[in-house]
């Protein structure tokens, strides 16, 4: 009974006299390796040169601000619920008077933490977010010596007001 069409008959044929000398095979091997010697290497010198990634690459997260520089996040917790790796935790707080220029909604995230060692970069938080507050950027979370330093708080996640991160291409993907 034939189970698969990929099976191959084992060949146990005697080697010829020339094959038994091994030398032609050895020189053939040397020829193959020396051709690789002259070939361009595939290495990318990482910290100096970065590999091109797709514009919708799912890397480090960013917490977006709106046009007036107010944080979008309203701490609804949908991202945390959607997260299959349970990497997101947050504490909500009520917006006080005089803080309208800081937070867009009446409720905001006082603490927002993503454990980068748990995160699987699936992008479900981005899809779950009703306020367009969280996006995954093409940046990489940088290496660190300490586990506790991989829990990214708001200091690392919220985009700086003077260095806005463009996620317009991502938005196009989600609305279409």
């Amino acid at each position: 009974m034939q189970l698969t069409n990929r099976s191959k008959v084992v060949s146990n044929k005697e080697m010829t006299w020339v094959e038994k000398m091994y030398l032609p095979a050895i020189f053939g091997g040397l020829w193959i390796t020396i051709r690789h010697f002259l070939r361009k290497s595939a290495t990318i010198r990482y910290p100096e040169v970065k590999r091109e990634v797709s514009t919708v690459y799912r890397g480090k997260h960013v917490l977006k601000r709106d046009e007036q520089g107010r944080e979008n996040c309203t701490a609804c917790g949908l991202c945390a619920v959607a997260c299959p790796a349970e990497a997101i935790t947050m504490d909500a707080a009520e917006r006080k008077k005089g803080e309208e220029h800081l937070y867009r909604e009446e409720k905001y995230a006082a603490k927002y933490e993503i454990n980068m060692l748990r995160c699987i970069f699936c992008g479900l938080c981005e899809e779950a977010c009703p306020k367009q507050a969280i996006y995954l950027t093409p940046e990489f979370p940088v290496a660190n010596y300490n586990r506790s330093n991989f829990i990214f708080g708001k200091d690392k996640l919220v985009e700086p007001i003077d260095k806005r991160i463009d996620v317009s291409l991502k938005k196009k993907v989600h609305t279409s």
Binding site: I26, G29, L30, I32, T33, I34, H36, F37, R39, K40, S41, A42, T43, R45
Partner: protein, 343 residues
Amino acid sequence: MDLALLLDKTILILILFGVTLFIAMYSTYAERKVAAFLQDRIGPDRAGPFGILQPLADGVKMFMKEEIIPNTADKWLFIIGPGIAMCTALMTSAVIPWGKNITIGGHEIVLQVADINIGILYVFGVVSLGVYGIMIGGWASNNKFSLLGAIRASSQMISYELAMGMALIAILMSTGSLSIRDIVEGQHGWHWNVLYQPLSCLIFIVCAFAECNRTPFDLPECESELVGGYHTEYSSMKLGFYLFAEYTNMFISSAIISSLYFGGYNFPGMDAFSGNTLALLGTAVFFAKIFFFIFFFMWIRWTLPRFRYDQLMRLGWQILIPLAIFNILATGTWMTFKGYLGF
């Protein structure tokens, strides 16, 4: 012995010592670079421009590492093992002629530490001593893997030394001398031994690979079976010494292969030069040959997989030794009858 000669030899020995260590040191760097290039990578490039300072960084690392001597090890033998390996590796360079004589102000300098009339036998003797470093290290570790590696190393060296010696006899028959200087002088211009004795050359090179414990004959330190082989228990600079001895051996083997079969400091068109120019050019050519063979050692290493142990023994005893004996017979027959045939 006059003072000038003593001074000559002392300076030559010191230079040789330095050059050997320097080349062994940069062989580790070259090995990593060659491996990388053969595998479409770029290799070490962080320490200095193109990673030129990598061997220094490795050396510092080796010295800084914690030194561990196992409780069950034979302490003294464990310590002198790497020393013997290093010492014997450095001794061989004494009989290699590095170039023609240089004349400075009427004083003739011989670029060879000792031109003894049994140069080849000396090389063989010292190389056989080299196995003691590995044997003692592996035995003193009191570890099964180390012992297996040491046993493999010694039996391998003994087996391949026979074929190596037999292959050489053909050369000795045609040259009529055991002195390496005479053998090199006999290969004037392009009359290299490899053209007259290709089979002997092939056997010698294969055996040289086995003597140096290089792939495809690196069973004594075969990681997939024996962890690290004879240096499993070694750490810090003692391990460094073993690795260093291996690269020194590789350099010396390359030098011996080049001088026995590839003309040493002879090169085609050498009659156009004379005096010191010829001597310096010859030395440069000799080193170019040595570097090519070091590269060849590495090239083979990153091309061929390792032999199985029974294949290794079969190749040594059943193929190389009969071939070498056949080569002796063929050479002898040719030397006897070439007079009658009118050559």
